[in-house]
Each structure stands twice: as C-alpha cells, then as structure tokens.
C-alpha cells in the first residue's frame, strides 16, 4: 500500500511545489462527449498543476447553475462512469499531471466501490473528491479500498467547519484539503470578501499538516492570486466551464485561459 502511494502524483506534486498550484475542474463528456481526453491534455500542456475530472450526476446538490448545466449536457451527450474510464484508458501515455475524479457518491456505489477503485488505478487516477461521502462513512467503509488502489480521498472544509472538525479532517487527509471559500454552491459568488480573507487567515494560522487549495469563487488571475496568498493554490471550476462553453478552438482557448490565470 505504501509503495502504491509513493507513486501517487498528487503527493509527488506537493513534494516539489507548495505554492501557486492551479487545479482546474471540468465535467467529463462536456462540451462534446469525446472531448474529455483532449481537455485533459490541453490543460496539462498549458501548465495546470492538477486536473479534476467531474463525473456528471443527475442531482448535483452542491453545484450551482453552471456546473448543473454542464452535468446535464454531458449526460445528454451520453457520458457514463464506464465511458469515462474508456476515455481515460490511454491518458497516462500522454499526461503525467495528477488527475482527480470528482463526483457524487451514488454513481460510484452503483458502479461498485471496489470495481470503481480498480478502474481508477488502471487508468491512472490519483485521487477522489466525493463531496457527499461523509468522513465517518469513508473511514469505516471506503478507506481501505481507496488506499489499496493508491487513491487519495480529498476532504472539504468550509467557513462553518469547526476548528475541532478541521483538525479531524486534517488527521484523516492525505494530499491536500479542499477549502471551500464561502457558504455556497459552486460558481455562486465571484470575488473574495473581507470575511473570506479572515477565514483564509484563520485556516493558515492553524498550520495544518496538509496543504490546502481554495475553491469556489476562484475565476481569474485576481482571485487566484488572492487565494495563493493564504493557501498552496486554488481550484477553478465554473469559470473554466464557461470557457469550454464558449470555446471556438478548445486547445487554444484552454491555453489562453490557463496562462491568463497563472501569469
């Protein structure tokens, strides 16, 4: 198990880099069914440090309208968990950037947790973000399968998460902690308020064992830079979905967007 984790690309990334990490989220099968692998390659080529591939779900309760829509279009396009694994089958021949699958727990349960983890390992997935999988449930019923297949489980914290619970999450995390920037669904807010900055400072002062990436409300260079002052980096989701939605040339538009955030 330990040997598998030493190969984990997320852990390797944070070993060599602890600041200005850019993670980008998009929904698999969006905007067109077979764009998934191309978008990953373009993100990687453009300098994204981490890639989060969303598993579309019919009832994404933690997501705002933008990601709800990309989920719906991807499902209408015919995406499925099985197809995502097929689309990613050869991705490791081209891309060494860490890849995380992010989605809701139901499709994972339906696919079969063990089979899901095995497929993740086969295609080279490094971690999972399953917002509606509670920590206790994870520890009791999922952790051993995830770890046996070299998968890190990434937990979320929010401005309302108590200090005590943040410590517990930190103890049970490996890789990084996903710091939700405000009490909101994805893509609901733009900009960063003074309240949020106080929350970022509070977390920074806790000196957690794991690095944190800030997500929700990060949309451009300005918000990315602000987030990077308080955390190891940030995650962009809805804003990138907008780029994909309006893209005329995927590869070029992705490159332009990533550069505009990082440089």
């Amino acid at each position: 198990m330990q040997m598998i984790l030493t190969e984990n690309r997320i852990l390797k990334l944070f070993e060599k880099k602890r600041s200005r990490i850019l993670s980008v989220y998009f929904s698999a099968g969006y905007p067109n069914l077979n764009d998934t692998a191309q978008i990953i390659r373009s993100l990687s080529d453009s300098g994204a440090d981490l890639i989060e591939v969303g598993i579309p779900f019919s009832d994404p309760v933690a997501d705002g309208p933008t990601i709800q829509e990309s989920n719906k279009i991807a499902l209408d396009n015919g995406i499925s968990v099985k197809l995502i694994f097929e689309q990613l089958a050869e991705i490791r021949e081209h891309v060494d950037t860490p890849i995380i699958l992010m989605g809701y727990i139901n499709p994972v349960i339906r696919f079969g947790v063990e089979a899901f983890c095995r497929n993740c390992r086969e295609v080279g997935i490094d971690g999972l973000i399953l917002p509606d999988l509670p920590m206790q449930e994870y520890l009791e019923n999922y952790k051993s399968s995830f770890e046996a297949h070299g998968l890190l489980n990434i937990f979320l914290i929010t401005p309302q998460t108590s200090g005590e619970r943040i410590r517990a999450i930190d103890r049970n995390s490996r890789g990084f902690i996903y710091m939700v920037s405000s009490a909101s669904t994805t893509g609901a807010k733009t900009g960063i308020s003074q309240d949020q900055v106080r929350y970022f400072e509070r977390i920074k002062e806790m000196k957690l064992d794991n690095p944190a990436l800030i997500g929700f409300g990060i949309s451009n260079k300005e918000t990315f830079n602000t987030a990077c002052r308080y955390a190891s980096g940030a995650i962009i989701g809805s804003a990138f979905i907008h780029v994909l939605k309006n893209a005329e040339n995927l590869r070029q538009d992705i490159r332009t967007f990533v550069k505009s955030v990082k440089e």
Partner: protein, 393 residues
C-alpha cells in the same frame, strides 16, 4: 420487530447522513439537539397544545360502514384529511418549526411536491411569524395551482424548481442548495421521512401521533389496541411512518405500504421504488432509489404529485428489506377509481395520494372480524382539477 434508528443514523442497511461538508454544521446541530428538545416538557406542552387547538387533533378514527360492507372487514379511516391544511403534513411542520425556533433559527425553507407540505409549512410560518420560502417543481406548480396560491396568501415565497424533472426531487435539490448558500439562521423543514439523519427519525417521531391516537381510539371502539392491518400510501413515506410507528414491534399487526405504480410498473412510468429501485444515495441518505445502471436518478411518474419521488425514506427501505411491511403498488387508474368509490360510498373525496392506499383494499381477502385501519392522509380538494380531468365519475 424493533424498527429503530441506530447511533449512526441507520435503519439496517439504510439511512446515514450523506451530505456535503457545507451542510454538516446544520445537520449536526440538529442531530445533537432534536431528541433533547423534543423531550423538554415545555416543548411537548406547546406541541400538544397546537396539535389540539390549531390542527384539530385528535383526528377521528371513523368506522366506514359502507366500505366495510363492500370489503367484508371492519374498515376504519384515520381522518388525517381533517387536519388543518388538509393533510397529516402539518403535524411535522409544527414540530420542526417549534424546534427551529428553539435552535434560534429565523428563516424557514421547505420543498413540496403536491403542495401539502408547502402549505403546512407556510401556515405554521404565518402562525409563528417566520420568513418562509418554499421550492416547488415547475410542473407541480402547474398541476397543483390552488396550493401555490394558498402558500402565497399565507405570506410564503414560492420558488419554481426548473431543473431536471421539475418535480419533487428537483424541489428538494433546490431547497438543499438554498440551505448551502444560506446556512446561518435558516432551518430546512423536510416534509417526509427522507434526508440525512436525523430527519427521517425526527419526522417519524412527529408523525407518530397518528398511530398513538389509533391505539387508544381502537381501544375505545373495539377494545383492542392492535388492528389486524394498517394501510398507508408511501411517496417519501411520512404518513405511513406515522401510522405504523407504534405498531412496529407489534408483529401481529400487518403493515401495508402502497406505492404509486403510475401507468404500470412495467411501462417505465411509475414511482414504485421498492419494485424498480436499487440501493443508492439521494438527498442525504442511503435508500432504495430508482436509477439507471450508471447511477443516474430516474425521473419517476405518478398522477399524484405527492408520490412522484424516485426514492423512499430509509425506514421504509428497511421495512421492505426486513419484510416487516408488505409493499403494494397501485396504478393511476386503480387509485382514481378507489378515490371516486370512497367519494360515492362514504362522502369523502380523498387526496389522490391517499386513494392509492384505498386501492389495495381490492387486492386483499379479509375475514369479517379483521380490523383494518387505513390512513386517509389527505383530502381531495387540491386534486379537484385532476378528478375533473379524469372524468368517469
């Protein structure tokens, strides 16, 4: 059989609290406090007082003479349709809103399918001077128009859920999103025995007044506490949970749960979760869920907006799996006929939800001494338009 939620919020294999971290503090606050608040003398007094003087409890346990004659058994109707606002839903909204006030909440949100839970929530918010927002599927708003206007008259904001199937499931999604975006000072009043722990247990407890009354009412009329059958319809399953509650461990009492089969379980247009569902997670709990092989939630269908939900409460998934309750399903056609029959025989126009429970009386061979209690969960006023469209009366 003991049917009780465990420390982790499970009934057997079903339940739990599968919620994003954004909702954890609110749900945890509720979990830590609901039992102690519900046990406070002051809380109980206020709750009981409102049930009596405002809701009109106890509701009658009515011996349905002509229905009994027709089915060859002693058929009693538990008249939840006579509750203020027209359905059992208000038992729960009074309980939850009293609880929310004690937790210092100022704003209330809710989801609604047929509109009964929304109306019950809007009503109690008016009573207690609280701000109220109700999410309702756009399609449901069209088919339950009077209830939309009732909520508005009562001062609630009604917001359409325009995503997905635009029915109860999507209204629940929107209410959860609202709660994520506005977690402080807001309580989410879930209307059924669904959602993350402690909701299923809390709602079942508030609705358990139904079976508590059935017990002493039967004692008065039949000199026994236990009927032979208790029959109730199940969408999420709150009226059934309330009607079954005090009979769970009385194994001789047969519990019959009736789901909506829409156009028929084999047509793909149904809401009968125990027939078509598999274990999954929706709206915060693990339960039986109508879904594709890929784990996408299937959009259910029923003529009844209140039963048009792709899951069932985890307590019912457990009742089904353990065999403690027998699950039946009734089609649109069977339910409508049963509703019209009750109207003609007893002068009671039932809600189409409750008519599904009535429909299974046809499927059971009773002996003449059998005591059958059927929970008539709501009245048919809100469904008049559906009855009219149906014709055939």
């Amino acid at each position: 059989m003991k049917i009780k939620v465990d420390d982790r919020g499970y009934y057997g294999n079903y339940g739990g609290a599968y919620i994003p971290e954004m909702l954890y503090p609110n749900v945890e606050e509720l979990r830590q406090n609901y039992l102690s608040v519900m046990e406070e003398d002051g809380f109980k007094k206020e709750f009981d007082h409102l049930l009596k003087t405002y809701v009109g409890r106890p509701t009658p346990l009515y011996f349905a003479n002509r229905l009994s004659e027709k089915y060859g058994a002693k058929v009693y109707l538990k008249r939840e349709d006579l509750c203020h606002t027209g359905a059992h839903k208000v038992n729960n909204t009074i309980g939850q809103i009293l609880l929310a006030k004690r937790l210092g909440k100022q704003k209330i949100i809710a989801e609604t399918g047929a509109g009964q839970h929304g109306v019950a929530t809007a009503t109690v918010c008016a009573l207690m001077g609280m701000e109220c927002v109700v999410y309702m599927g756009e399609i449901d708003m069209a088919r339950q128009k009077p209830n939309v206007e009732r909520m508005r008259i009562l001062g609630a904001g009604v917001r359409p859920a325009t995503s997905g199937s635009k029915t109860l499931k999507d209204a629940t999604n929107e209410a959860m999103r609202h709660w994520i975006n506005d977690p402080v000072d807001t309580h989410y009043v879930i209307g059924s025995v669904v959602g993350p722990h402690p909701y299923p247990d809390m709602v079942a407890r508030f609705q358990s007044v139904i079976s508590e009354e059935i017990k002493w009412q039967l004692k008065e009329t039949e000199h026994v506490e236990d009927p032979d059958y208790v029959i109730a319809c199940v969408g999420g399953g709150s009226n059934a949970a309330g009607a079954f509650y005090h009979f769970f461990d009385r194994d001789r009492v047969k519990l019959l749960a009736v789901e909506a089969a829409g156009h028929g379980n084999e047509t793909g247009e149904s809401a009968a979760t125990t027939v078509l569902g598999k274990a999954g997670v929706l709206h915060g709990s693990k339960t039986l869920l109508m879904q594709t092989d890929d784990g996408q939630v299937v959009e259910p269908y029923s003529i009844s907006a209140g039963l048009d939900y792709p899951g069932i409460g985890p307590i019912h998934a457990h009742l089904f799996e353990s065999g403690r309750a027998a699950f039946y399903s009734a089609t649109d056609e069977e339910a409508m006929q049963a509703g019209i029959l009750l109207s003609k025989l007893e002068g009671i126009i039932p809600a189409i939800e409750s008519a599904h429970a009535l429909a299974v009386l046809d499927n059971i061979t009773f002996s003449p001494d059998d005591i059958v209690v059927l929970n008539l969960s709501g009245r048919g006023d809100k469904d008049l338009e559906t009855y009219i469209k149906w014709g055939k009366y």
